[in-house]
């Protein structure tokens, strides 16, 4: 048995293959092997959500996934949310609403919010709070983050 693993995955729609140590997490592999540094490392224990990515269409903490587990799977990161060089509607809404302060939690917030909107296209504020309960913002910018998600969902501006 080898302590390295060969991992082939579909990353933001493109096939990629990496050779990595079996203990490497998906998060480390994205950042250090695949040069996608949009996904952030913060708590590294599944509590803050900064490393949220899609794995086979479901939002997961990439710090808690071994890269080897992603072999043959589809991974979408923050870099893969827009299309044709344009930001997604949700990303635009984060900018328009001033939801971004230091920005560190934002990639994880956006992926988690994107997952929420796929399942619940017209969420209530309470549903947004539930949907983002796995994501922490150190700046405490929750009000505008929630407003951005509601705005992307077509709700009236609630930032005041």
């Amino acid at each position: 048995m080898s302590e390295t693993a060969r991992v082939s995955l579909t990353l933001n729609g493109e096939p990629r293959t990496v050779e990595i140590g079996a203990g490497r997490t998906l998060l480390d592999t994205l950042r250090w092997e695949l040069d996608l540094t949009g996904t952030k490392e913060c708590c590294a224990a599944g509590e803050c959500g900064a490393c949220t990515v899609y794995l086979d269409g479901e939002a997961v903490n990439s710090c808690l996934v071994l890269a080897a587990e992603a072999d043959g799977r589809e991974v979408t990161t923050i870099e893969g949310l827009g299309s044709g060089g344009r930001l997604s509607r949700l990303q635009e809404a984060f900018l328009e609403t001033g939801a971004i302060q230091c920005g560190f939690c934002i990639p994880g917030m956006v992926v988690a919010a994107d997952a929420l909107l796929r399942e619940t296209p017209r969420p209530t504020l309470d549903e947004v709070l539930q949907g983002l309960s796995g994501n922490l913002c150190r700046c405490g910018g929750y009000t505008r983050i929630c407003a951005a998600v509601l705005r992307a969902a077509g709700a009236a501006d609630v930032t005041g």
């Binding site: 224990a45 949907g131 796995g134």
Partner: protein, 285 residues
């Protein structure tokens, strides 16, 4: 992270073979939400990590036959929460599973992992105990079943033998007239371990069951068969006496989430509250 080999077998026999060969040096990976944290901190240092998610016999899913629901070992909690049968037949389990971590965690974490991790604070265990869950175990010698309360031996300790793994968790559909609810106390909403957790059920015969979590080395089950707790007209002081006897069996510790005294006091409060909602639901149902 220290070095280990990663294997992703496709047949259950390969898993039991690896367990037999490596014993405690092998660790099984389902959702990984506890294991990967342990690997990173070095608290867990296996020689081989065995991913169960490609094993044909363990494919994620819930199936029902003859009034029993089987939840396979790799089924993520988000799927358990969404399942119509779980919501209808085992609502307190759906409530409990929905409180685990966050959406990101529930998309990975499994019910089997929650019981195998054997944390005193495991969120789904009180509900599983109240519903009389049975653990299906496979090993080189074949299959065996254990009631969950005999599977959990202590903090981080289960009845699994060297070559054994949990393949599914089974629940018998409760009889008509059973009502149950789950409650939990945390410091914040979302992504926190329970300070205490309680599941309460009342069946058609008037037996009240409680399972308490995070207040003893393992979550545990108690029952009032006198019918006093289930009786909406019983004197509140008599009820409290019965409830105090049951909650008095807890042996909480003091830690960062609460003191022993706080846990003991809140166990009574949360139990009383849950009992009221279950008895009310029963009255309306």
């Amino acid at each position: 992270m220290h070095g280990f080999a990663f294997v992703a077998p496709t047949a259950q026999a390969e898993v039991t073979g690896l367990l037999e060969e490596h014993g405690s040096e092998a660790r099984l990976l389902a959702g990984g939400t506890d294991l990967v944290v342990g690997l990173r901190t070095g608290a867990i240092r296996p020689r081989v990590v065995v991913d169960l998610k490609r094993v044909a016999e363990l494919r994620p899913g819930l199936s029902d036959a003859g009034g029993r629901l089987a939840i396979s070992a790799t089924t993520p909690l988000s799927r358990v929460v969404r399942d119509g049968r779980v919501r209808q037949w085992f609502p307190a389990l759906a409530e409990a599973a929905a409180t685990v971590g966050s959406i990101q965690i529930r998309n990975r974490a499994t019910l089997a992992g929650n019981i195998c991790n054997a944390s005193p604070a495991a969120d789904t265990v009180p509900a599983l105990l109240v519903y009389g869950a049975e653990v299906v175990i496979a090993g080189r010698a074949g299959e065996r079943r254990l009631p969950l309360d005999r599977f959990l031996l202590g903090p981080r300790r289960t009845a699994l033998g060297r070559d054994e793994l949990v393949t599914s968790i089974e629940l018998a559909r409760p009889g008509a007239g059973t009502f149950a609810a789950f409650g939990r106390l945390t410091r914040r909403r979302g992504v926190d371990l329970a300070t205490i957790s309680v599941c309460c059920s009342v069946d058609a015969a008037g037996v009240t069951r409680f399972a308490f979590g995070a207040v003893a080395p393992t979550p545990f089950l108690v029952a009032d068969e006198s019918g006093v707790l289930a009786d909406p007209d019983a004197d509140p002081e008599t009820k409290d006496r019965v409830l105090a006897e049951l909650t008095g069996l807890a042996r909480p510790i003091s830690d960062v989430r609460g003191s022993r005294e706080y846990r003991q006091a809140m166990l009574m409060v949360v139990s009383r509250r849950l009992l009221r909602s279950v008895v009310d639901g029963r009255g309306k149902g």
